[in-house]
């Protein structure tokens, strides 16, 4: 009977009707896609366009690129950028690996303290280390004599400063990688009487392999795209990041700036792709059945590890300490008595404290608005249904910013938002554009944090809600947000600290009214006001630390409050 009735031709696939509550989600998703399209895709596209057209907007092919390579100084910068970043990578990664190894595999004491000291560079703009090294080894530096005939200004200073600045980034990745190892592998090796060194090369290193590659890529990317450090301590040593700045701000040569931007984008994007592939593999390595490794006491090994870590920690503190101390010194190096002159006269009376206030404002906007945007977007992507053609695009948008240097993004923002035909050019030179560029610049890590948290909660919450006729947004507020609150706070903290310390994207976008603290340091340094510069850097470090401490307290409070359901009593 039915065989006769059923139509022979295959009809179009059935589509489900969309409930109005789901439509809300779809509209939000579309809106967010549009925002990311405007604030990420369009600017990058504009850079590409600018690099192949002349000032009148005519297509000129690769003429700018040809001209670029015929300028020896600019071509030299490419090589400079690459070898300096490579060297930074070769120093930072092994040092950070040893440090991470000590934290995860030894029984030395004060691990938390050491770890926190090693993460200090995250709290300051990268150029703090450059300023500090100038105080240590510069022309008027405390240990100038150590430099002999050579100078700290140039490649040496850049490498030293960037090693300091990139260390915590590599460290965090490597701690995670080393924590993943399955203890049972070591037990199996022990039962076969394997020697320590062999265990290291056959178990530890292979397990951390992807972490090592990932750390190397992150360090390289950071080093090649950093702008503050070479600007402050680079002297006459040119790199691509400073070239862009000089071309765009100094010579107003936007086309050539765009070309350098693309030249910078290429290596960063390659490392980014490598990192992406590697991370996917690392995920596959993780099994829920792994048994965490707990190190055993070994006197000599623990002592050696502790000695190494304390040495690194001492160097870290020396860099930070010098900057802080210098901010209180009356007149370096002639009058070393302490005063608040740099703060009072150099910042307050010079009217530069506004920049600090602006930074806090911007950081708060990023920490609130940015966090909401990132989390809601990740939630809609991960947990709702429908609108399948938008999702892959949005997923790409979410991870793309990691592969785009801040300078390039900032340059794209100029091209796009400053375009006379753009109806949005009203936001150029406002606080809004600073907030948007910063949120976009730091989008990927935040997105991944949100995604990890969302993946850990049951996938069927939305299905259960729908079966109970509860709209998804109610479950979002009642269940998802409370459960993910630690991750949400972490995203918010990350945005706050990075907004306080960032330079690269915003350096093209601020106006006199929206000057930021980190940029003020740069300008003070350029004007030779290095004392007030250290004062401002100290303020930033202080603010970031205070913010981290507040977030920590908030988290602790939350932990206590939600203990009833987060830490269940022994199972019945």
């Amino acid at each position: 009977m039915s065989a006769v009735l059923s139509p022979v031709a295959t009809p179009r696939a059935i589509t489900q009707r969309v409930h109005w509550t789901e439509r809300i989600g779809h509209l939000l998703l579309l809106a967010m896609g549009a925002v990311l399209g405007i604030a990420l895709f369009a600017p990058i596209f504009m850079i590409m366009a600018k690099s192949v057209e002349d000032t009148d907007g005519n297509f000129v092919g690769l003429a700018h690129f040809a001209a670029y390579f015929e300028t020896p100084a600019l071509a030299q910068s490419i090589w400079n950028s690459v070898w300096v970043s490579g060297l930074v990578m070769l120093i930072t990664v092994p040092a950070a690996f040893t440090f991470a190894y000590a934290l995860t595999r030894s029984c030395m004491r004060f691990k938390t303290l050491l770890r926190n000291i090693a993460l200090i560079p995250l709290l300051a703009p990268s150029l703090l280390s450059a300023i500090s090294f100038i105080y240590w080894f510069g022309n008027q530096g405390a240990f100038k004599s150590w430099m002999g005939e050579t100078q700290i200004y140039g490649a040496r200073g850049i490498v030293l400063s960037l090693v300091y600045a990139t260390f915590p980034h590599a460290l965090m990745i490597l701690i995670t990688a080393l924590s993943l190892t399955d203890a049972r592998l070591y037990e199996a090796a022990d039962s076969m009487g394997t020697r320590t060194l062999r265990k290291f090369f056959t178990i530890t290193l292979p397990a951390a392999k992807y972490g090592l590659i990932s750390a190397a890529m992150v360090v390289f990317t950071y080093a090649i795209s950093d702008f503050g450090v070479p600007k402050v301590i680079g002297g006459s040593f040119n790199v691509m990041a400073t070239d862009i700045f000089k071309l765009v701000i100094g010579q107003q040569d936007f086309a050539k700036g765009a070309v350098v931007g693309i030249m910078l984008l290429v290596p960063v994007f390659i490392t980014y792709i490598v990192d992406l592939l590697v991370q996917r593999r690392q995920m596959a390595q993780l099994t829920s059945r792994s048994v965490p490794y707990s190190p055993k006491r070994a006197r000599a090994f623990d002592a050696a590890m502790a000695a190494f870590c304390w040495l690194i920690a001492a160097l870290m503190l020396a860099v930070l300490g010098m900057a802080v101390w210098a901010s209180f010194v009356k007149l370096w190096p002639y009058d070393l008595s302490l005063s608040l002159n740099h703060y009072r006269m150099g910042l307050v009376e010079a009217g530069i404290l506004d920049a600090y206030v602006n930074s806090i404002k911007m950081a708060l906007w990023c920490a609130t608005g940015g966090t909401v945007f990132v989390f809601v977007c990740a939630y809609l992507l991960e947990k709702t249904r429908g609108l399948d053609w938008v999702r892959p695009v949005l997923r790409m948008f979410a991870v793309l910013p990691m592969g785009v240097p801040g300078l390039v993004l900032g340059l794209g923002f100029i091209f796009f938002f400053n375009h006379p035909a753009n109806p949005l050019n009203g936001i150029y030179h406002t606080m809004a554009i600073l907030v948007i560029s910063t949120v976009v610049h730091y989008y990927s890590s935040s997105h991944l944090t949100a995604l990890t948290a969302l993946k850990q909660i049951d996938n069927e919450f939305e299905a259960v809600s729908a079966s109970l006729k509860v709209p998804f947004f109610k479950t979002f507020f009642v269940v998802t947000v409370p459960v993910c609150l630690p991750a949400i706070l972490e995203i918010s903290r990350y945005f706050f600290v990075n907004a306080m310390t960032t330079i690269s994207a915003v350096v093209f976008l601020y106006s006199p009214d929206t000057m930021l603290a980190a940029i003020a340091i740069l300008n003070l340094d350029e004007a030779g006001e290095i004392g007030p510069a250290t004062a401002m850097a100290t303020l930033i470090v202080l603010t970031s630390s205070a913010a981290c401490f507040l977030y920590y307290l908030l988290n602790r409070f939350l932990e206590v409050k939600t203990q009833a359901w987060r830490k269940p009593a022994a199972q019945a």
Binding site: I14, F461, A463, S467, L468
Partner: protein
Amino acid sequence: MTDNTSAALRIEHVVKRFGDFTALNDVSLAIEKGELVCFLGPSGCGKTTLLRIIAGLEVQTSGTILQDGRDISRLPPMMRDYGIVFQSYALFPNLTIYDNVAYGLVNRRLPKAQVRARVAELLTLIGLADSGAKYPGQLSGGQQQRIALARALATSPGLLLLDEPLSALDAQVRVRLRGEIRLLQQRLGVTTILVTHDQEEALSMADRVVVMNQGLIEQVGTPREIYSAPASAFVADFVGKTNMLAAVVGDDSELEIGGMQLHTNGTPVNFRSGAPVTVFLRPEDVVVSGAEHPAPDSFAGRIENIEFLGALCRLGIRVDGIATQLVIADFSPRDMEAFHIERGRPVRVSLPSSSIRIFPRNA
């Protein structure tokens, strides 16, 4: 397919394709009111996909789903009428047991007192009356799954969907909860679909079992029918333990198994002479007798191994003429002693033709 109206749920010609892969290939099924139906099959057979299509969580490529005569094929989950329980429980960890069970009720803007009474009633029903203030993490897996059941039943849905609800639990809890769910379902009379890959679960709980394989329904029937009259080789092999013997149909409808001849004694063999077939026989239907008094039509063999399974013993018997495999026979431990069964002992084996089932074999 005679009566179109009485079914609580009617699935008509449902097809689901994921790209080139066909997860469900023209599946039709009617489920009566108050029935507990099990979708049984190996992983990847399409049973969970079918359940998710019924729930509206997946959309079928083509086909119709009718609930109480109403076409729900294109309705989103929010507009369908069912409660669902997942293998992972999917309890909201930050809400108390009370709030979990009340989750769907609160949304209906019922008076507070009514919600409270309903939650209390449900918690009593599942035997966890005192647990309202606790959080899911403080309960055992079995208790959590019962809470999930209460939450799904709270709004008195017309259909209850259970997606491998017991698979994440310990064996003992699983068996106990099996009985509890069945009792509850019968008491409430709620039409229920249970998806499982555990045949014991399906046989012990279901009114009817739907055996699925590779996107097709192989057989629909009561547990007894499924077990004793499997409709296909797949069902016979998937449900219960079976002897599968390769055979060829002989001229007089007898079966040639290895070098042996098995007379079918009038049981019709609907295969032409020379057709390759597979003969199925449950181990408990194999008759083993002593070698001293050979039963007619029995084969000589020797006990090669003995597997002790508690309530019964499973013998592996090497039958002369069947070189490639052992014939498996079940024995109670008591009979084992009476027959002095031990390894190496010669026995006679007969395969009662009334118990065998014959399916075509792809030679």
